[in-house]
Structure formats: structure tokens, C-alpha cells
Symmetry: C2
Subunit: 143 residues, 2 copies
Amino acid sequence: MEQRISLVTLGVADLARAKDFYTALGWRGQEVEETVFYQAGGLALVLWDRGKLAADCGLPAGPPAGFDGIVLAHNVRSDAEVDALLEAAQRAGGTVTSPAAVNPVGFYSGAFTDPDGHAWEVAHNPGFTLAEDGSLVLPDFGG
Amino acid sequence: MEQRISLVTLGVADLARAKDFYTALGWRGQEVEETVFYQAGGLALVLWDRGKLAADCGLPAGPPAGFDGIVLAHNVRSDAEVDALLEAAQRAGGTVTSPAAVNPVGFYSGAFTDPDGHAWEVAHNPGFTLAEDGSLVLPDFGG
């Protein structure tokens, strides 16, 4: 298995609501057959019906839990960008679940959930290099 | 918000078990402070304690649901690679939840869950270009 993720698909209850949320945050994608695809660097973020997504994986959808067990992180280049994105997410209909603060590791971060409860951490972590094109390069932790 | 995902963090119940699973599939990462970081193209895949991950986002962890509501996809270059990866996942302690088959969209795919129940779709979708470096480029759907 090569070390890559090709797509991250978020199961949604209401595609229009989810699309409106990400549009308000500045995402631009393509909607085709009740699915929205966003190019996000070298992979795609996808919005698709939650029940169909579960069925596609051979899993019972069940009711959404309060916590997915998976968190996406969006790293930015300044503390001010963390604040601005959390405010934008709240205005767009998301919920700030963890207000921005210096976390125990020592960098500034916060978190929000989208209208379907999917969690995003927003972080300004100078220890993780963000390239010009937005790609992230892990440091050598020297382990 | 720029269109990118910086990290995808999987909440795990047993870090050693989760790390062993991904190691068996060929992933090589760095473990630091009870967290494993894998460079995966322009982002990082991370394994971290499920309860700490939820707390970090200000969410109650709750018990793991049968379906996260989020699915990761790993696209490959041939049908045979789909078969091989599903077999490897099963051998490594995962569960094939959807055997490989031509799906309704018309391409060959299947799905497995890792030991914590996180779902991966494995797909050979010639309609989505896989670059030499493994990055995925969405087609113009002409919408």
C-alpha cells in the first residue's frame, strides 16, 4: 500500500446544506450525481449521502455519533487565521467545539464541526512546514 | 479557507495494534508522544488515542459507532492491486466489509475496516487520474 489518501468522503444528511457550508468557507467543487467533489491538493474531499456511503463500504449506517472517531486538520500560517476561520465556520452554520487557544503541545488551535458533525481542527503549528502550495511536510521527530 | 486537508487523524483504542496494522500494509511513520505520524503525499495520516482526539476537539468521545460517517479512499492502478490490498488488509487484522466488485458507477472497488473500524475504500477508477507521485487529479465533470 503506497502511503497516500486519494479521497476523503464525508457522509452528509443534506447535500445542499453541506455544500452551502463549504461554499461559504470558500471551497469550490463540482457536483455530479448528488455528489460534490473538491480538489484539495493531491486528493479530493467529497460530500455524499451518508447512507449510500455506508452501504458502499458494506457497513450499516446507524445514526450519526457525536464524534466520528476521525478528525481532519486544516493548518494555517498564523494565529489570526485560526481565529478568522473559526469565526467563518460559526457564521456559515458550523459549531465551534473548541475555542482557539494555545494547546498542551504549545501551538495555537481550535476546532469546529460542520453541519453533519464532522470535526475539523484548525491549527497554526510552526513545527509542521506548510509549503507554498499548502502541502504539509512532517518534521524529523528524531525518534 | 484554502482547499486543503493537512492531517487526517484516526482515533484508536490501542496504538500498538493500530500501528502494527498499518506497518503490515507497508506504512512507515514516526512515533512520538504516543502518536504515530505518516507522511502521505502533501498531508499526514496520524494515529492517536480516540479519547484524547475527541477531547482535543471539545467533543464527547462516546463509544465507537459501527460507521464513522467518514471514509478514506485509496486509489490504485489496476484491478489486481485492489484484490491484493484487500487480501493484505484481511491478513493484517482488518476486515473486508465489501468484497471487490465492479460497483454501480462502473469501476472496480472494495472496502475494508482497520482494527478500530475506520473504513477504507480501495478503488481502481481510471476516470480519476493518479499521477506518478500518487496524487489524484479530478476530471472535469463538465457540470
